[in-house]
Every structure is written in C-alpha cells, then in structure tokens.
C-alpha cells in the first residue's frame, strides 16, 4: 500500500501498520480495523485466504468470485469458518479499489455475476461515505436475483434487494459490524440527498389506493420511514421472513395501514424497494 503502483502480495504489512501510515477509507475509517479482530484473524488463518487471496489484484478478485463464491455470509459452521465472500471482502479492504473499479464490479460485472455485485455492495457499505452509500446502493433494490446465504445455523435463501436493504438498515451483516450511517432523512434535510422515489410510485397515492381497495392482501407495505427493529445480523432466513412481516406491520400501523392483511397467504415474496429509507 505504501507504493502507489503495486500492492503487496500478502496482508502482512497491511495488518502490521494497522492504518498508521496507510490511507484511510473514504468514510474516514481505518480499513485494517473495519472488520472485527476475531473475524480478521479467522480470515487470515483460513486456508482459502492463504491459498486463493495471495497476490490477488482487483482483476483477480473477479476470477475468485466467479470460481469460489456461491454463497454470501460471514462465518459459518460450528468452527466459524469464514466464507470466501468474507475473505474476498477483506482482501478488497486491503486493495482499496478505486471508484471506477467498484463501478465495474457493480454494473458491468454485477449484471453477469450476482455475487460480484453483492461483494461490491458490501464493500461500499463498509468504506464509502453515507451519502455515497445511499446513492450507490439504492438502485440495486430492484435487483431481485436470488442469493444463497450461509450462517452459523445453516443455509438460507436470500435476495439481492433484501441484502441491500440489510446493508442499509441493519447494523450487523456478514459477521461485520457496519458503521453507523446518518439516516436518510437527515441527509435529505441537509440537502445532501434527493428524496427517494420508490419504483412503485408515490407513497401517498399508494396508501390512498389501498384505502380504496380496502384491505386487499396483495398490496403490501410502502412506508417511507425506517425505524427498524432488526438488530442482530446473525438471524436466519427461516425466522427472518416472519419477523420482517411483524416489523413491517409495526411500522405500518401508525400510518393508517390498519386494514392491510400483511400475513396474507400469498405473502411468499417480500416486495422490494419499500423497506429502505
């Protein structure tokens, strides 16, 4: 990291310096300490990291993602093995790719390889400034591709938009504590961000429409605020959907959505785009 045109092949200097001389991430955090120490040490000790993340540069990251990443997650199993996803995220923290490269990962590569996009989204959330995080992540609330997620208890199904939403609203994702961003409405008040337009249209119109329909089970949620009850990232997908429904019900009730049937029998798929601020 000290030389401008080369990376070090291993992470030793990155970890030794602990950010004392290396550059900081755009959000002012030290990239060497963004992940927790326990997780960091597990990553550096893992066989995958030693074998596949050695001497890797930004282009090789794509190789590794395509070849080895077929699920997201932090640490998994009883021995809390770090996932390849997490190892590569750590490697990205070391490489500190530029915005242009991130954009390649997100849009051009992301269209083709969904886990590459997931990795880039995760990395952006860890390192970029809050207004950039919102502007970069929100477009992908419309990406509805499936993702496999491995946690400590097992594998579960996930969607890209849910992942993005977790990144925006939760404070612990993939065994990593996410840094506390300012809320979207604060940034809007500061005029750093434009108010978000939901792909479903205006929220007031939607609510009026729902009142007219009077409790049709098909129409779900559509709130603009983000008082999120979810606090631990280690939750599993099986219980997640239930809790999501519950929390969305909580959120909706003060807004006059009393007539909505949120636990409708056809509620198999969470609609995207509405949960996030």
């Amino acid at each position: 990291m000290s030389k401008s045109e080369y990376h070090r092949a291993d992470e030793r200097r990155f970890l030794d310096e602990r950010g004392s001389s290396g550059p900081l991430a755009p959000n002012g955090l030290n990239p060497a300490t963004i992940m927790e120490k326990a997780v960091r040490e597990r990553i550096v000790d893992s066989y995958f990291y030693k074998e596949q993340c050695f001497a890797v540069n930004e282009a090789d990251i794509v190789d590794r993602v395509v070849e080895h990443v077929d699920f997201i997650g932090g640490v998994y199993g009883t021995v809390q093995k770090p996932t390849p996803f997490l190892c590569l995220a750590f490697k990205l923290l070391q490489l500190a790719p530029s915005d242009a490269i991130i954009d390649e990962y997100l849009s051009f590569g992301g269209e083709k390889f969904k886990y590459l996009r997931a990795l880039a989204l995760f990395y952006i959330r860890l390192t970029r400034q809050d207004k950039d995080v919102y502007t970069l992540l929100e477009p992908f609330l419309e990406d509805r591709r499936k993702l496999r997620r491995k946690g400590r208890a097992g594998t579960s199904l996930m969607y890209m938009d849910v992942f993005v939403d977790d990144l925006l609203t939760k404070d612990r994702v993939c065994s990593t504590s996410l840094w506390k961003m300012r809320k979207r409405d604060i940034l809007e008040d500061l005029e750093l961000l434009e108010p978000r337009v939901s792909p479903l249209g205006d929220i007031e119109d939607l609510l009026d429409e729902m009142d007219e329909v009077d409790g049709n089970g098909e129409v779900r949620n559509g709130d603009g605020n983000h008082t999120d009850g979810d606090d631990d990232g280690s939750s599993e997908g099986e219980v997640r959907s239930r809790r999501w429904r519950k929390s969305s019900a909580d959120r909706l009730s003060p807004q006059g959505g009393d007539s909505m049937d949120i636990d409708g029998p056809d509620d198999r798929r969470r609609s995207s785009g509405e949960r996030s601020p």
């Binding site: 030389k3 045109e5 080369y6 990376h7 070090r8 092949a9 291993d10 066989y47 030693k50 074998e51 596949q52 050695f54 001497a55 890797v56 540069n57 930004e58 282009a59 090789d60 794509v62 190789d63 395509v66 530029s98 242009a100 490269i101 954009d103 390649e104 990962y105 051009f108 590569g109 083709k112 390889f113 590459l116």
Partner: protein, 275 residues
C-alpha cells in the same frame, strides 16, 4: 592429460623433493611437513612417487577451486555481515533484490493435494530430520525444504523467503478499471462457452446413453439365450445318461427294459410333448 606428461611431472617433482628436503630441514619441522604435504597434494602421491595406474582419476584444477572457494567465502562473509546488520536493526534478513525480480502473480489453480494420495515417493536414506533437504513430505524445489503438511507448505510458498528464491519481488501489479472490465468480459465469455459445450455434450450424452441401453439389452438377450441353451443341453444330457450306461454301472436285469426301448427308438413312456 596424457600419461607421458604425468611421467614428466613425476620426475620433475621427484627432483624437487630431493632438492627441497635439505632446505626445509634447515627451517622448522612444522613448515617442512607443511611444504611436503602441499607439494605432494598438488601433483604427486604422499609417498613421493606417484602410482602409475591412477590416470583414470579425475584431475582437479586446484587453482580454479581455490578461487571458487575464495569467492564463496567472500560472499558468505558479506551475507553474514548483512544478516548481522539486519539483526541489529531488528529486521528479518532476506536476500537482497538484484533488480531481475518479477512481480508476484496470483495462482491460477488450486493446488490439488488429493492427487498425491496413494502415490509413492523415493526418499534418500538418512533424510527426514528437520525441514532441510528432500525427504518425505511436501518438497519445495527452490528453497530445498520439505514440509510435513500442505498447510505448512502453503504458508511457505507465501513467504518472502520463497518468493526471493524463485525470483519474485512480492509486489503485485495494480489492475486498472479497463483490466477489470476485460477480465469480466473474458470470464463471461468462458462461461458462455462452457454452457454451449454443455448443451452439445448433453445431446451426445443422450446418444451415448441410448447406445449403452441397446448394448445392455443385447447382453441380456444373449445371456437368456445361453441359459436356455444350457438348460436344453442339460436335459438332453440327462436323457442320454438314462440310455447310455457304461458296462461298469450296469446292474444285471435292471436296464433290460431301457435297452429295449432305446433299440425301438424311444426313451421312455410318458408324455410325447417336447419339453
């Protein structure tokens, strides 16, 4: 060297000996013995007269090797000094780079240690103490070290020591956005290619499967026919046994009836339907 030149050398040395000894007697005994050893080590035997039947031995150019040894010692001394300096500075010593190092690149394949399972490797006798040299385990050619498990081996291949030995600098080229773009495209193309191949091979597989099924059926038919044939033969055999007795198994009077029936052209009473 031809034999004649050896002879000349011997004669000359013999003379040198004769001349040399009285001179060295005047000197101290230690220097005398040293000079004698030196002379004899150089060109002749320890007994003053070289054997004539040792021409087949390799002739060493002692001056050349002395120069080599001097060079090596100088280099070692220099390295020792560098090591000592690194130690004083609290750093780890690595061989200094000479500018010919290449950049380190990522591995492009996983090392498959499973293929080593069940293989046999010849190991020199006396090997197997410590890591140095070739012995049983994972051997690194460049560093001449052997490791007992693949994790140690992998850690070694990531080490600076190993990288210096294989002439790498431990630095990695920084990729640009264009390179990343090109890589994504390449990987995507490869994936598409694989998919196309898979479709073709699926059809092929179906064809192969059909063929295999046909073969299997043929085999079954053949086996069934064979079994039928065998049964038939066995039955005929049984009939034959009934009619053709050897003289030794005949019991007086018992087979008269059978014989008579055989002579008349049938084997026995019973159903006439073919079995």
């Amino acid at each position: 060297m031809s034999p004649s030149s050896i002879v000349i050398g011997r004669i000359a040395l013999g003379q040198a000996h004769i001349i040399d000894v009285p001179q060295s007697i005047v000197q101290t005994p230690t220097t005398q013995s040293a000079s004698v050893v030196k002379m004899s080590a150089k060109d002749s035997s320890a007994y003053g007269q070289a054997a004539g039947d040792t021409d087949f031995r390799k002739k060493y150019d002692l001056d050349e090797y002395a120069a080599k040894a001097k060079d090596r010692e100088a280099a070692e001394k220099e390295e020792r000094k560098a090591r000592w300096e690194a130690k004083m500075a609290g750093k780890k010593y690595y061989k200094p780079m000479d500018g010919s190092e290449t950049l380190t690149t990522a591995r492009n394949a996983t090392q498959d240690f499973r293929k080593l399972v069940g293989t046999t490797t010849l190991v020199p006798a006396g090997a197997g103490v410590g890591k140095r040299g070739r012995s049983a385990g994972f051997y690194c050619e460049a560093c001449d070290l052997t490791f007992k498990d693949n994790l140690q081996y992998l850690e070694h291949t990531n080490s600076m020591q190993h990288m210096r030995n294989i002439g790498q600098s431990g630095e990695v080229h920084k990729a640009t956005a264009e390179e990343v773009h090109a890589r994504i495209e390449l990987l995507w193309e490869r994936l598409q290619e694989q998919k196309r191949d898979q479709v073709i091979s699926l059809q092929e597989r179906l064809a192969v499967r059909k063929e295999e099924d046909e073969k299997e059926r043929e085999e079954k038919r053949r086996k069934r026919k064979e079994a039928e044939e065998k049964r038939k033969l066995a039955k005929e055999e049984a009939v034959k046994v009934k009619t053709e007795y050897g003289e030794d198994v005949r019991i007086e009077g018992e087979h008269d009836e059978d014989d008579m029936m055989a002579a008349m052209g049938f084997a026995g009473f019973g159903t006439t339907s073919k079995k």
